[in-house]
């Protein structure tokens, strides 16, 4: 079963090898980011590089949502290529519900200053009533969409607890978004909810520059304002998405 990984694992002794396998399965299947203290293959840079290569075989990459914790997600270029296939994108009713949960559980608490962490996880549930009564979604498809989103770990249900009302929060799958994907999610929400805002204008301008500038892939010729370390991938993804739009 392991011919796929053999070339990468061959050179390691049994102990290292099992450490790599353990870390691989952990980052691929855990619900939450795993602490590197528990996995030598995450802690040691050389092993981590091999782990990254193992994940890369399936188009995955290591994501570090918080210092010293790791999980895996789709590489940005792979995600962009997959997203071009309609079969790989969640159906419209699920995406719509998910967008609402992101707005009520993350965007609004953040805009009102309640959320401090820079994360798509949130302790503020979106009440079912809000989704049912105060959105334009057909009520008929709401429950089924929530059930499927829950099964996929895209939303998590928070049970009502005394005074606290229950509802839905973004699920553990959001740990698995790369920085670039997280940032793009933020941009998409801003473009959708505040298309008239100066920020939306800046986002559009930046995307236009990247799509229209054929030199943009050359770091020398790129927008001098963009210099974050993830930018190379960010740029590639934005580029691809600009074209598929």
């Amino acid at each position: 079963m392991s011919e796929l990984f053999e070339p990468l694992l061959r050179s390691y002794d049994e102990k290292r090898r099992s450490e790599l396998v353990a870390a691989y399965l952990a980052v691929e299947h855990a619900a939450e980011p795993v602490p590197e203290v528990r996995f030598p293959a995450l802690r040691e840079p050389a092993l981590r590089r091999t782990l990254e290569a193992m994940l890369g075989l399936s188009g995955r990459t290591l994501v570090r949502p918080a210092p010293k914790t790791w999980i895996s997600g789709y590489r940005d270029d792979v995600a962009a290529a997959l997203a071009a296939d309609p079969a790989c994108v969640p159906p419209v009713e699920e995406r719509a519900v998910l967008a609402l949960v992101l707005i009520h559980s993350v965007a609004i608490p953040r805009a009102t200053g309640l959320l401090a962490e820079d994360s798509w996880q949130s302790p503020y549930p979106t009440p079912l009533e809000e989704l049912r009564r105060r959105s334009q979604l057909p009520v008929g498809e709401l429950e089924a969409a929530l059930r499927r989103l829950r099964a996929a770990g895209l939303v998590a249900q928070v049970r009502a607890d005394g005074e606290e009302t229950g509802g839905y929060v973004p699920g553990p799958q959001f740990h698995r978004l790369t920085d670039t994907a997280r940032r793009r999610l933020q941009e998409e929400l801003i473009l959708a909810a505040g298309p008239d805002s100066p920020l939306a204008a800046a986002i559009r301008a930046r995307r236009r520059n990247r799509v229209h500038d054929p030199q943009a892939r050359d770091p020398q010729a790129r927008d001098p304002q963009a210099h974050d370390p993830h930018d190379r991938q960010a740029h590639d993804t934005a580029h691809a998405q600009g074209e598929t739009r």
Binding site: M1, S2, E3, L4, F5, L9, R17, S18, L20, V21, A22, Y24, L25, A26, E28, H29, A30, A31, E32, V34, R38, F39, M54, G56, L57, S58, G59, R60, Y74, D77, V78, A81, L82, D85, A87, C88, R150, A151, G153, A156, P172, D236, H239, A240
Partner: protein
């Protein structure tokens, strides 16, 4: 910007979950094909025969699952009916009427049998969505799903033993309310 097509095929299999193709279609490298003769399902390959069960050894929680116990009991009930040749591998197994599975499950559960059947129906759908069973709702039949082919032979002894002890479906005279 072009992604290696093999890499893309493996990533695609993870996004889609249960993907099948005509049995004659080539299985992309780095994936395992589980064929029932007509269709072939694509399964991931894990290094050194490890499975996600390894997470438990490391005290690491897997993706949360609603009522895992119930889901697994329904899986056991279904396998009781469609993995009848227990000396063989569970995949591809045989076909069994859903109604039999529901009866076996109801027999395993306390309380309202009707309610148990309803719960079990929901679980059958979820097990089918995730490739543990193949459910044909129009025909009212169920058979093992391709993911059971990921089970390692060495891990099956206790399950075989359990399934032998589980009663077979009885529905003619089951107490109906």
């Amino acid at each position: 910007m072009t992604v290696d097509p093999h890499v893309l095929a493996r990533a695609r299999a993870r996004v889609l979950g249960v993907v099948s193709a005509d049995a004659s279609a080539p299985v992309p490298s780095g994936l395992t094909g589980a064929s029932d003769g007509t269709r072939v399902w694509l399964l991931p390959q894990w290094p050194d025969g490890a499975t996600p069960a390894l997470l438990e050894e490391y005290d690491t929680a897997p993706m949360p699952l609603d009522r895992p116990g119930q889901q697994r009991r329904v899986l056991a009930a279904a396998l009781r009916c469609c993995w009848t040749k227990l000396d063989d591998a569970p995949w591809p197994g045989g076909e069994a009427p859903v109604i039999d599975v529901l009866e076996v499950y109801a027999g395993m559960s306390r309380g309202d049998a009707d309610l148990a059947r309803r719960w079990a129906t929901g679980e059958l759908r979820r097990l089918s969505d995730t490739g543990w069973l193949l459910l044909d709702e129009t025909a009212g039949t169920v058979r093992p799903g391709p993911r059971v082919a990921l089970w390692r032979e060495e891990s099956l002894a206790s399950l075989r033993d359990l399934l032998r002890r589980l009663p077979q479906p009885v529905r003619e005279d089951a107490p109906h309310e």
